[in-house]
């Protein structure tokens, strides 16, 4: 069979392995009833299923702690509590004793009833717990019926995991050594599973609808996570080719490791800081592993998700402090809360909006709810004494917003002083440049900020009026569009006009090796990206000098389309012998 573009490219990399199909087990439609003399036997089965399930959950919890971190592992603590719940257990026992149902039937009925109770209450938190109860109910049921639950946390051979849905909790517990690729019928690039796959550096293709009907268990697959392609039963030549490519990639990665501790400077000595984007405090391990110069974007939204009330100052302070301490004096840019109507954040009671990206989000919420904002600012300021901290405001569209945000920050400082709490007095303040108005009028902001950080993902979608999640227009989304590049130039020039003000970038473009020459040439001094991209970008920076990069940028500014620009940049990298970095 030929190569097929089958789904969404979610985590780059190539894998050649046998398919390991994870099917949801079939449950008999009628789980049956019993005679009164069978009650004891079914109660015994129920008890056995509970014990077995608790044992499994404990194993998964331990595994998740290692592979996915404390936050991810918490979901399994909740599962265990439900398994040990006396009321839940009583409900199942009564269904056996009073309704004379089989253990399996009693489990299915009780779990569904309890899930329905939670769902009927209008509460986002309880709705999620309903999903937990169904999950637990399924596990119990499989154990009661003696159906083997396919466990992918320890496998004997290398595989590509194929399933209808690979849930984040399943992903968190997979055998990282043996799962070489992920292929699922549902999901997309922004799904939690995709993010985990990228963190674990496992190639993944999601959203491949219908794939289960095309693949048989044990068939050999070539999965290309960077292209969203899969080939079923490839011929020997293709397999050999793919293996060769995988080996080459491994070799290059190993070579890149060698430059981990080399400073990121151009040949003529210009320093370009290469920083990492992180979402949770436990990400710092990865940041240090790749030799990042700091954190260019610490998203703080995680603190507000999956909970009923906003996090208190103390909890936030601890999270920020941990990151600053781990980075040991390297700069950490903390971005204040950036959420909007496209994400459900129960603790903020946000309304659904027709146009969430043009709506009530980020700084717009914070400037209204000053208590929420000040709580976060106090926590960030208190953490500032533990390292080199910078604060960044998101979604700024005019100068007044910066002035207001800084005024609220001064109030937060005054409150800390009254309580005798310490903070670093010289914390730098910057803004995200992601709204075209701010990029166009960047010169108006330089008197108010210490730095700009360009968020290319939003800036591209705003200036091109393209929702990149909309498949009918997503082909129009391209960060190499000449208009965007002109905006980048404008922002850098504005910052260069003020001593001490710098421009960085924290969007996906910063980690794209195709953009590196251009960004250095335009004058960026800090690039922040996912940790896995740092060494690729460093390789390019350390291979060129500034004058050459400037010529490249000038040439790009004379080109009329994104296609021409991409082709030109590819050609330059090829001439440098560095185009292999694009394939990693």
């Amino acid at each position: 069979m030929k190569n097929m573009k089958i789904g969404v490219a979610c985590s780059p990399g190539l894998a050649v392995e046998k398919a390991y199909i994870l099917r949801e087990p079939e449950i008999p439609a009628d789980l049956g009833s019993i005679q009164p003399d069978q009650v004891e036997q079914e109660l015994g089965k129920l008890n056995g299923a509970l014990e077995k399930s608790i044992g499994q959950i404990e194993d998964i919890y331990r595994k998740a702690l290692q592979t996915a971190g404390t936050e991810e592992a918490k979901i399994f603590e909740a599962h265990r509590m439900i398994l040990e719940d006396p009321i839940f257990r009583e409900g199942m026992e009564n269904a056996i004793k009073d309704c004379l149902l089989t253990a399996g039937h009693a489990i299915a009925k009780t779990a569904e009833e309890q899930a329905a109770v939670f769902e009927s209450i209008d509460d986002a938190y309880l709705r999620e717990r309903a999903a937990d109860i169904r999950d637990i109910g399924n596990r119990l049921l499989y154990n009661a019926l003696g159906i083997e639950i396919k466990d992918v946390s320890s496998l004997n051979e290398s595989v590509i995991l194929v399933a209808h849905d690979i849930t984040p909790s399943l992903m968190a517990t997979i055998d990282r050594e043996h799962v070489k690729g992920i292929l699922a019928e549902v999901g997309g690039a922004t799904a939690h599973t995709a993010i985990l796959a990228r963190n674990m550096e496992i190639p993944a293709v999601l959203g491949a609808s219908g794939i289960l009907s095309m693949i048989k268990d044990g068939e050999t697959l070539i999965l290309d996570g960077g292209k969203g392609e899969v080939e079923i039963n490839p011929d020997e030549a293709k397999i050999a080719q793919a293996y060769e490519k995988i080996e080459k990639t491994a070799r290059i990665k190993k070579e890149l490791r060698l430059i981990k501790d080399i400073e990121s400077r151009t040949k003529d000595g210009r320093r370009i800081e290469l920083a990492a984007n992180i979402g949770v405090p436990s990400d710092t391990g990865k940041v240090l592993e790749y030799g990042a110069d700091g954190i260019g974007l610490f998203r703080t939204e995680f603190l507000y998700m999956d909970r009923i009330c906003a996090p208190c100052e103390e909890e936030q302070f601890e999270a920020y402090k941990k990151v600053l301490r781990d980075l040991d004096g390297k700069p950490v840019i903390i971005r204040t809360l950036d959420v909007g109507g496209d994400k459900e954040i129960p603790c903020l009671n946000m309304e659904r909006e027709d146009n969430p990206f043009l709506g009530y989000r980020a700084i717009r919420i914070c400037l209204d709810d000053t208590e929420l904002f000040k709580t976060q600012l106090r926590a960030i300021l208190r953490a500032s004494v533990y390292g080199n901290e910078l604060i960044m405001f998101p979604m700024i569209s005019n100068v007044e917003e910066v002035v207001k945000a800084k005024k609220i920050m001064e109030e937060a400082k005054a409150e800390l002083e009254r309580k005798g709490q310490e903070y670093a007095p010289d914390v730098k303040v910057g803004i995200m440049v992601e709204i075209p108005s701010t990029a166009v009028a960047a010169d108006l902001f330089v008197d108010h900020v210490d730095f700009f950080s360009i968020g290319t993902n939003d800036l591209t979608q705003y200036i091109l009026a393209v929702d990149r999640g909309n498949t009918r227009v997503s082909h129009l989304y391209n960060c190499f569009h000449p208009a965007l590049i002109r905006l980048l130039k404008n922002v850098v020039e504005a910052s260069e006009s003020r001593k001490g003000v710098f421009t960085g970038m924290c969007g996906e473009m910063a980690g794209n090796p195709l953009a590196t020459l251009l960004l250095v040439g335009l004058g960026f001094t800090e690039l922040s990206m996912s940790p896995g991209s740092i060494l690729k970008v460093k390789k390019i920076i350390t291979s060129v000098d500034t004058a050459y990069a400037k010529r490249v940028a000038e040439h790009v500014l004379g080109l009329a389309s994104a296609e021409e620009i991409e082709a030109y940049l590819k050609g330059e990298l090829k001439a440098l012998g560095l185009d292999y970095l694009l394939e990693l």
Binding site: A78, M81, I82, E84, D85, P86, I87, F88, Q114, V117, F118, I121, D123, Y125, L126, R129, I133, R307, I308, C309, C312, E314
Partner: protein, 86 residues
């Protein structure tokens, strides 16, 4: 048997994380522990029971423990609830 009346003051109420912390603490005692709320009797060791009760901020509950460690249970759990206040 020991009982005490408690006012739930924290913003979240006996919900989400506070609820699971409370239930975990209750589970450590041998005594039978119940919460009386709006004429309902709730098993304090059951996370599903406590969550579905919807005990919000400002509610008054009666906490009752019966068993060998009832005194300690009441003291500890009152403490757990007090600590929720932020």
């Amino acid at each position: 048997m020991r009982s005490t009346e408690i006012l739930i003051k924290n913003k979240t109420g006996l919900h989400a994380r506070p609820a699971s912390e409370f239930v975990k603490a209750a589970g450590r005692f041998k005594s039978a522990i119940t919460i009386e709320f709006k004429d309902k009797k709730i098993n304090a060791k059951s996370i599903v029971h406590v969550l579905s009760a919807g005990i919000s901020a400002g509610s008054t509950i009666v906490l009752t423990a019966e068993g060998e460690d009832e005194q300690e249970a009441i003291e500890t759990l009152t403490d757990v609830i007090d600590k929720f206040e932020e």
